[in-house]
């Protein structure tokens, strides 16, 4: 007799009631997990990967309904179980950790108490020893001073610490299956790795099965044994990691793998599957840094020169009570978001600005875009010192059109009441002083062609456009006034990988065609590398390392850069 699989989902279909009628979120999903195995479920947003997990533990929201098939856990049918049966299983046999750990913890209950709640609920502790056990759990997830942290509230802990607490809660009752739903989204890259390593170590020790839900193929490759790829509610491919990466069977998988930038991938590789084999590669941009060309560039003046830039914010109010008129001590005069950085960008060059959140990279880019005033320092752009103008007056300067910016979130950066045409036309009207409606329309249509936005979409409002289309509108708006420098502030971080690939290629192509310089701000070295010849790595407002992109990525000189590079999970065939 063959033993039934530990977890098996068969022909599972789930429907959701929405305003536009019933939508099928899962369509005949099949999967199984063995004891102690880690299964990665990978897919882009809306692929149904989370719904699968929620259905398994019976946490579908009210609008969702199982339309067919079944989910079994250790011989028990989960899809037909009563709420009280499921409640007994949750936390004890199956537990779950979520993205955005700070939001996932009760904000007004000490974290230790929250661990206790689970222990007491599943009778893993008595009132007498619950606290001791909770503290022990905190210790196991490597939280220092667990006795003190027991009384902490989530808002007093960092995101990474909160995720550790979540892990402690999830593992408190020694469950046999852990579902991790995008467990590192929203955490800093270096924290991501530590968190994932912790999850791997703890679950291995306990021989637990893990379902790792992620949009990041690299992450699944690094931590899963087997991967399921989902697309639009269906499982398109199931394979072990090595097979999946070396011999992907399904076109969608191939596309995803190609689109995920790794340390060695080229820009053309990203869409190689859709556009055919990338044998006719364009010359690598590294050539821009050829000695010959470098000499030529040096003859030309720098487009942008940033000298000793500092941005200081007044110190946050001190903890505890103080007199309203008392001033903060002069000793700690303020928090330096940007702490004396200098760099240059040559004409036609692309520079990457890389670092974790809070390192000052976005502040730097806002100052260069003249949306923010620096505390001190100079910005020499096109031979002129821009810091002589105040940020709120810069809008009226002729240089305004020469520095433009593409924003992080394409949705948030478009006015919901403006059509795509209005949005692209706005800078033309204000900066180019074009008033004739026909001329504006002509110009906008030209821009749309340039960024590959079909002209019939120009009359649409942002909510009627897809993420990729919105990104194109944002780019068209920025390049409409012929800037010399385009600042890209994490332009692809809100996009799915396949869209990211296309947008990156578009940006590269525009650069060549229009001869702009880029300042590309990102947390992801692998992405920056694709577009930029040179990178600057920032940490705590200072420049840690700079150099040629490939050089820095493959051969980091500084410890911090090395950690940053190592933290980005990716598929490494040699490690298997």
């Amino acid at each position: 007799m063959t033993q039934p699989p530990f977890v098996s989902i068969e022909q599972l279909s789930v429907d959701f009631r929405t305003r536009n009628g019933i939508v099928r979120a899962l369509d005949k999903v099949e999967l199984s997990i063995k004891k102690g195995e880690t299964l990665g479920i990978v897919g882009e947003s809306g692929s149904g990967k989370s719904v699968t997990a929620y259905t398994l533990i019976g946490l579908l929201d009210a609008a969702g309904r199982v339309a067919g098939g079944s989910a079994m856990f250790d011989g028990m049918t989960m899809t037909g179980a009563s709420e009280s049966q499921l409640r007994d299983l949750r936390g004890r046999e199956i537990s779950m950790i979520f993205q955005n750990p700070r939001g996932a913890l009760n904000p007004i209950r000490p974290v230790g108490k929250q661990i206790e709640d689970v222990l007491l609920r599943h009778a893993r502790a008595s009132r007498q020893n619950a606290r001791a056990k909770a503290i022990e759990m905190l210790q196991q997830v490597r939280i220092v001073e667990p006795e003190k942290r027991y009384w902490s509230f989530p808002f007093e802990l960092s995101g990474g610490m909160c995720q550790r607490v979540m892990i402690a809660i999830a593992l408190a009752c020694d469950p046999r299956l852990l579902i991790a739903d995008e467990p590192t989204t929203g955490l800093d890259v270096t924290t991501q790795k530590a968190t994932m390593d912790l999850i791997r170590d703890l679950t291995r020790e306990r021989n637990m099965a893990v379902i790792l839900i992620t949009h990041d193929l690299g992450m699944a490759a690094a931590y899963a044994d087997r991967i399921i790829v989902m697309q639009q509610g269906q499982v398109v491919e199931t394979a072990d990691v090595k097979t999946l990466f070396t011999r992907p069977a399904h076109d969608y998988t191939k596309k995803l793998i190609a689109a995920s930038p790794g340390p060695y991938s080229e820009l053309d590789d990203l869409t190689a599957v859709t556009n055919g084999p990338a044998d006719a590669k364009r010359p690598r941009r590294v050539s821009a840094a050829d000695p010959g060309q470098q000499a030529a560039a040096a003859a030309n003046k720098f487009l942008l020169e940033v000298i000793d830039l500092v941005k200081e914010y007044p110190h946050r109010q001190k903890q505890g009570w103080q007199w309203p008129w008392s001033k903060p001590d002069d000793a700690d005069s303020g928090f330096r978001a940007v702490d004396g950085i200098s760099f240059q960008i040559k004409r036609g060059e692309s520079l990457g600005l890389v670092g974790e959140s809070g390192c000052g990279k976005s502040t730097t880019s806002s100052i260069i875009a003249r949306l923010l005033d620096p505390t001190s320092g100079d910005i020499i752009f096109n031979g002129q010192n821009l810091t002589t103008f105040r940020a709120d007056q810069f809008a009226h300067q002729p240089q305004r059109s020469l520095i433009q910016m593409v924003f992080q979130d394409p949705t948030e950066s478009l006015n919901p009441r403006y059509t795509a045409l209005d949005a692209i036309a706005e800078p033309l009207k204000r900066l180019k002083k074009i008033t004739a409606a026909t001329e504006i329309k002509q110009r906008v249509e030209k821009m749309a062609d340039l960024v590959g936005l079909p002209q019939h979409l120009l009359t649409r409002f942002p909510h009627q456009l897809s993420g990729g289309q919105k990104a194109r509108v944002g780019i068209a708006r920025a390049i409409a006034v012929d800037p010399l420098l385009l600042i890209l502030d994490e332009p692809t971080s809100a996009l799915d990988v396949s869209v990211q690939a296309v947008v990156l290629q578009l940006l590269d192509q525009l650069k060549t065609e229009l001869g702009m310089s880029y300042l590309f701000v990102s947390h992801d070295l692998n992405v920056v590398r694709l577009l930029c010849e040179r990178v600057i790595v920032m940490n705590r407002g200072k420049i840690v390392e700079q150099g040629l992109a490939d050089e820095v990525l493959r051969n980091p000189k500084q410890e911090y850069t090395r950690i940053l590079v190592d933290s980005i999970p990716h598929f490494e065939p040699d490690n298997l």
């Binding site: 478009l414 009441r417 706005e426 900066l431």
Partner: protein
């Protein structure tokens, strides 16, 4: 516009209550506009012989202690009640939203001064403050309007401030800066239009409250003077007769008042759905 109408009809078909509220709203507006021509009797004509008659075919809502036709008085009063509320809300909307969006957009000192001002008004129980203002400025209809406007001011200022504040660093505002727009232009063309929908909801919910406030003030004898027809004062006049069983004097004006307020509240809820289906509570 067409898109808006489609959405409007969609929300309407979803929610029959809103349809009812909008029809009622139109009815109230028509009554306010054409009240004097609709009323069957002169609302001020006394007829001592006919005093305190219960509702009948001649006098649908009965007659009051001076023999005046209650139905006519209720109809005619619509204009005055609505007029007071509308002027008060309009005043506080214009001043409040201007102050509030300035505070939310520029922050800093502007924000602190305006915030302190609205906090101070809010530190009073508002109806009580209105009583104080009317007693200080003098007992007249205009002063009822000013008092109601002042006590509503902080609500508009707060909504406008909050809505502007969340948008002032939105990507599209940054983009407008990069497009060479000045602060004032950004506030007027990018930020404020996006704040309007939530403000509309506030206006509608506030209208009901403003009507109640004005009626409450005249109920305790402020503002409108006796022979004039106004719902609050009619209820006050009828109150004396409740204990002896002449219920119609107070019921009909009170019911009219209630219906009007109810209508504005329903529209407020409906608008909320129209504006933002997600915020539906």
């Amino acid at each position: 516009m067409k898109r808006f109408l489609n959405h409007f009809f969609y929300v309407m078909s979803e929610n029959p209550v809103t349809v009812f509220a909008f029809s009622l709203f139109i009815l109230i507006i028509l009554t306010a506009l054409f009240g004097p021509w609709l009323a069957p009797y002169d609302p001020l004509a006394t007829q001592a012989a006919n005093a305190l008659q219960p509702p009948s075919l001649q006098h649908w809502f009965g007659t009051d202690h001076l023999g005046r036709d209650v139905f006519s008085r209720v109809i005619v009063a619509t204009r005055l009640d609505l007029g007071i509320a509308l002027s008060a809300v309009a005043l506080s909307f214009f001043i409040g939203s201007a102050l509030g969006s300035a505070a939310g957009f520029w922050g800093g000192w502007t924000d602190r001064i305006i915030g302190r001002l609205s906090d101070t008004i809010m530190a009073f129980p508002l109806f009580v403050l209105a009583m104080g203002i009317v007693s200080a400025l003098g007992n007249s209809v205009e002063n009822i309007i000013y008092a109601t406007a002042i006590i509503n001011l902080p609500f508009y200022a707060r909504v406008a401030r909050a809505e502007t504040n969340v948008r002032r660093n939105a990507g599209y505002v940054m983009a407008a800066r990069l497009s060479g727009s000045s602060d004032l232009r950004i506030l007027a063309t990018q930020v404020f239009p996006n704040c309007l929908p939530p403000m509309m909801v506030q206006i509608s919910l506030n209208m009901g409250w403003a009507i109640l406030n004005a009626a409450g003030l005249s109920f305790i004898g402020l503002g409108v003077r006796p022979p004039d027809a106004e719902w609050g004062i009619m209820v006050a006049e009828g109150a004396t007769y409740i204990v002896s069983g002449e219920w119609w004097l107070a019921l009909f004006p009170g019911a009219a008042l209630m219906l009007a307020v109810f209508c504005f509240n329903l529209i407020g809820d409906g608008l909320r759905d129209l504006v933002d289906p997600l915020r539906r509570t």
